[in-house]
């Protein structure tokens, strides 16, 4: 047991230790090297700016965060919806496949200027559309993959129960796809934040993180720019952590970990029947 808890301690502690080390080294380099804030702001002066501009930082995080959130929600809903249609109809599948494949490799931010004109520069809709498009791709791809995860044995079972199509979707397809859907949303979460933020560079209402970063940098107020960057990082992290938690919640093997190696929990070595592991295990966590 102690070995196990030591292991988790190392896993959680190592990144924190690395982070602290980098921060301290950064501060030392700036302090000892007497590097001007102008060239490289130190962590402490960035922290000072965070404190000084706290209200506007919070407002900016709120504004960019709202855009990202709306993009995430709308993009996810649309992504799941179209994926559902594509899993049910081969025509929809074939129609959407090339578009999504294209969308996946196309620089969506390039659309920012024209979207701003289309939706109006006083409107956040253009940015939200960018975020939504960026979110749509991974959610769609993962959902579709998830919807195709139903094992043949389960499909046979449903048929043997003479289950109606609606019942199959409710009882089998959606639950099997759920971990995949949330994996897609988790991946999309940081994309939503970055896209919403980058889109601010191409116009629209001010007050978000992106526009404040650029206007701070324009007068060489780099420590302040970094303070807003920190806001962006925190926002991205927040999205990531929340969506990761959601993902864990719906992934069966994570919800019910093999806490023990007690004989009752271990399947025989010849058995490959343990289907619970069909849920995707993530590389990112």
């Amino acid at each position: 047991m102690s070995a196990r808890s030591r292991d988790t301690l190392v896993r959680a502690g190592a990144p924190v230790a690395l982070g602290v080390f980098v921060l301290v080294a950064w501060q030392l380099i700036v302090t000892v090297g007497e590097i001007d804030d102008y060239l490289l702001p130190s962590p402490l002066s960035i922290a000072g700016q965070v404190v000084e501009f706290w209200p506007s930082l919070v407002a900016a995080v709120g504004s960019t965060g709202l855009n990202a959130l709306i993009g995430l929600v709308v993009g996810s809903v649309v992504g799941v919806g179209i994926a559902l249609l594509a899993s049910l109809s081969r025509v929809v599948d074939y129609l959407s496949a090339p578009l999504v494949a294209g969308l996946a490799v196309v620089p969506i931010v390039a659309l920012a200027p024209v979207l701003n004109t289309m939706f109006g520069a006083d409107s956040e809709t253009g940015r939200r559309t960018i975020a939504g498009l960026a979110v749509f791709v991974p959610v769609f791809i993962n959902t579709l993959r998830g919807l195709r995860q139903t094992a043949p044995v389960h499909r046979d079972l449903m048929r043997s129960y003479a289950a109606k199509p609606g019942q199959v979707v409710r009882v089998l397809t959606i639950p099997a796809a759920r971990p995949y859907i949330f994996t897609g949303i988790r991946i999309a979460s940081s994309l939503a934040v970055i896209s919403a933020l980058v889109a601010e560079y191409f116009g629209g209402p001010r007050g978000g993180l992106g526009s404040l970063i650029s206007s701070s940098a324009a007068t060489s107020a780099y420590a302040r720019a970094w303070a807003y960057v920190v806001g962006g990082i925190v926002l991205g992290l927040l999205f990531f952590v929340v969506t990761s938690a959601l993902e864990r919640l719906v992934t069966p093997s994570a919800a019910f970990p093999h806490g023990t190696t007690d004989s009752t929990t271990r399947t025989s070595s010849t058995s490959s029947t343990n289907l619970s592991n069909t849920a995707p295990r993530k590389e990112l966590t």
Partner: protein
């Protein structure tokens, strides 16, 4: 809605399965999996299908279950079409993989077919308790499948197949993934369960001792195109009286030998088939 309508299901005078000249061609692959199969499984009878890999055992079972459609011949399940029998839930089915839904508790897995067919909650709970007792896993109803061993999962799958008290049980290598000792234990248990429910069973297996131990008749199939080679009748006495000691009985060994020989007759000479 009641779980069991004796007037319809219990009094079975017709045969469980009647296959006449059944054949199956997989067009896309150009494979003739079954060719002119005739088979009758009487009500309450335990019939095993045995044969080399790819001879069409699973295909035949899937045709009976109406999971696939035959290319030729006719199939009657309790005197109805296979499709009707499926819709009426005349059979229960179990596969090599237990195929439990990992996001449902064990009890909810057993109740799944009942839920799909609209049985009220209380009745479902009763039935799953009953079935958990039957397979000896009463304490595990609220666990999740991945907390169970392979053998336990397979017992749950059998319980699920029995949920609607079918008069026909279709099983495709249900013990194939278990280790030998667990397997023997499961076999003994299955004979007991069959004796209790009185259901007919069509059982696919690769193991000769298993087929011999369980069956009233063993159907030996030959490969490509799948045909019934021989039917070897067993004589180990009534199912519920078969105990572990039978496995050491000379009759048992002689039947094993009989099936082995039937099997090897149909099999091609060593070396030509490289599987």
């Amino acid at each position: 809605m009641t779980l069991h309508n004796p007037s319809v299901k219990s009094v079975q005078t017709t045969d469980a399965v009647v296959a006449t000249g059944v054949s199956k061609v997989f067009d896309a692959a150009g494979v003739t999996a079954l060719d002119g199969v005739d088979l009758v499984v009487r009500a309450g009878e335990f019939v095993s299908l045995i044969g080399p890999s790819g001879c069409g055992k699973s295909t035949l079972l899937r045709l009976i279950a109406d999971l696939d459609e035959p290319s030729g011949g006719t199939l009657q399940i309790f005197g109805k079409s296979a499709k009707q029998a499926r819709i009426d839930q005349d059979y229960g089915i179990a596969f090599q993989q237990a195929g439990l839904l990992p996001w449902r508790t064990v009890a909810a897995n057993i109740e799944l077919p009942l839920e799909l067919h609209g049985f009220p909650k209380a009745q479902r709970a009763d039935r799953s308790r009953e079935l958990l007792d039957l397979v000896g896993l009463s304490d595990f109803g609220q666990r999740y499948p991945d907390e169970l061993s392979g053998g336990m999962q397979q017992r749950i799958a059998i319980a699920r197949a029995l949920a609607e008290k079918p008069n026909l049980l279709l099983m495709d290598e249900p013990f194939g993934a278990l280790d030998e000792m667990t397997r023997e234990r499961m076999q003994t248990e299955l004979t007991r369960i069959c004796a209790e429910t009185g259901a007919a069973v069509v059982f696919v297996t690769h193991s000769i001792p298993e087929a011999v131990f369980l069956s009233d008749r063993v159907v030996v199939m030959s490969p490509r195109p799948g045909r019934i080679e021989t039917v070897v009748p067993m004589a180990l006495g009534p199912a519920h009286e078969r105990g572990d000691q039978i496995r050491e009985d000379p009759t048992f060994f002689s039947m094993v030998t009989a099936v082995r020989e039937a099997l090897h007759q149909g099999a091609p000479a060593r070396g030509t088939d490289n599987r």
